[in-house]
Amino acid sequence: MQKWKQAWQIAKFELSVSTRKIAFGCLIILGFFSYAISSFQQYLDNNVIGYDLFFILFFTLGINIGNPNYWHLKQADVYPLLMTQLPLPIQQEIVIKSRFIIHFCFSFPVQIAFLIIFYVASPIADLLSIPAYIAFAIIWLSVNLYIGTLTPISEVYPANWLFTVAMTFFFLFIFLFILTLSNLIFDHSVVKLSIIIAKNWPVISSMVSLIIGFAAVKAHQIYMKQIMNKRDYF
């Protein structure tokens, strides 16, 4: 826990100049909020695959989904601020944790806000009780833990625009594959399936999601360290 506290001190430095970035990202995300709420009934009736895709992307990237600067920076060889921190006397482990904290700050608050508004404003309250909805929220917030935490890793991955485009298509393919598989095997799309799971097995689904999520956070830190120790920073 001490290391996460130290990492928070490092992350605060970047967050202190990120107000405009967060505000702009939130503004863009408002569009997603209204789409997700207004189209929910239509989604339940027709299994719209784009709705699932938006859900997965939002719970993976948070406000970065609407931040053009984020996509621009991903094309850079390495995240600029990281370049300035690496020669400083900060343990590599702390630097890595601080990148995870930054990602969580750019994603969890807006995701939690969405989940609250979604429950109040959409017809989901008719389908799920509050405990079941909490399980639903945990399932989706865990997506951020096991897929979203790949975002800080991409900051140190040696990349160029070709790599970025290739990775975008790769993840898009993976997401579409999951969505198709979900429809073929369970006859339900991903969000609908998560509603059913949360409704029938709220405790187990929450626990399994959190276990996978926290294990992934740990594993992704180790993976990020391996990449950082292999690459050159020119």
């Binding site: 430095f13 601020l81 370049m83 300035t84 006397p89 900060i90 920073y233």
Partner: protein, 284 residues
């Protein structure tokens, strides 16, 4: 005395350059300048020292700690000023100072304030809004006060105006006087090297030609102006020759030969540092 920095058998393959094998030692109380043409590998060597680039072979130890090992405490003993800085653009000088000073337990606040006043650095403006020269001044003001054992400076004066260069020279001398420290810097400015350096390490196409004691190097080469035509045969010590002029890196042997051949010279002079470095860097 224990070396601050020890580089042994260092090798690194780059796209267009093979750096090394390279051996170098930086002792406390010394200022060493790394000289070399553009693309010789100077900045790469600094990045290898800082573990920002991964070595293929060899060892780099700062106070006996391998810089690519699990013990990261060596970073407390070195302050690195990179040639280019990216990522600082959104921060003001005040924010950068608060962040960086908190990482160094021996941060010299008085020195920082002195440098800010001396260079007239506006700390309330964002780094990205400052001119290149002021950015460099701020970068230096955030590097020197870290009070580390070794200062690693990559082209510290490249964007500085003449008065600022002079002030920096004085600050570096003052910084050296405070203890068993060393400066290892890359520079193209012969005036910087002349004024500050004790040693000059010459890097050519990734290979270290040698590390020379500055004063010895200055007196090791001499130019002779000869009245009559020079003989065709090779002359001991001569490393370059024209119709009536020759340059020797062993003046005693050259003079003995000329006297023996009864060739008189009208004038002789030591080479200036720029000429010497050109000779060392470009000689095949």
């Amino acid at each position: 005395m224990r070396a601050l920095l020890t580089i042994t058998d260092l090798e690194k393959q780059l796209d267009h350059l093979y750096l090394g094998p390279l051996d170098l030692t930086i002792a406390p109380g010394t200022i060493t300048t790394l000289a070399g043409a553009n693309g010789a590998g100077k900045s790469t060597l600094f990045k290898l020292i800082m573990n920002l680039a991964k070595r293929d072979k060899g060892s780099i130890q700062l106070l006996d700690i391998e810089t690519n090992g699990t013990d990261e405490s060596w970073k407390q003993h070195i302050a690195y000023q990179a040639q280019m800085i990216i990522g600082w653009e959104p921060f003001t000088g005040n924010k950068l100072k608060d962040f960086i000073s908190s990482l160094y337990p021996h941060w010299d606040e008085a020195m920082f304030q002195k440098m800010v006043a001396l260079f007239q650095i506006p700390l309330d403006q964002r780094f990205g809004k400052l001119s290149q020269g002021v950015q460099q001044k701020l970068h230096l003001a955030l590097t020197l006060p870290r009070n580390t054992s070794l200062l690693l400076l990559d082209e510290p004066t490249s964007f500085l105006d003449i008065p600022a260069k002079q002030k920096l020279m004085d600050l570096l001398v003052e910084w050296m006087e405070q203890g068993d420290r060393a400066i290892f810097m890359a520079s193209h400015q012969s005036a910087d090297i002349m004024k500050l350096s004790d040693y000059i390490a010459v890097l050519k196409e990734g290979k270290l030609i040698g590390t020379f004691e500055k004063d010895a190097l200055l007196h090791s080469h001499r130019r002779y102006w000869i009245k009559k035509h020079l003989p065709e045969e090779s002359i001991p010590g001569v490393i370059d020759r024209f119709a009536h002029c020759l340059i020797s890196n062993v003046p005693e042997k050259t003079e003995a030969f000329l006297q023996q051949e009864q060739i008189t010279w009208t004038q002789q002079e030591v080479l200036n540092l720029e000429e010497l470095l050109t000779l060392l860097i470009e000689r095949r």
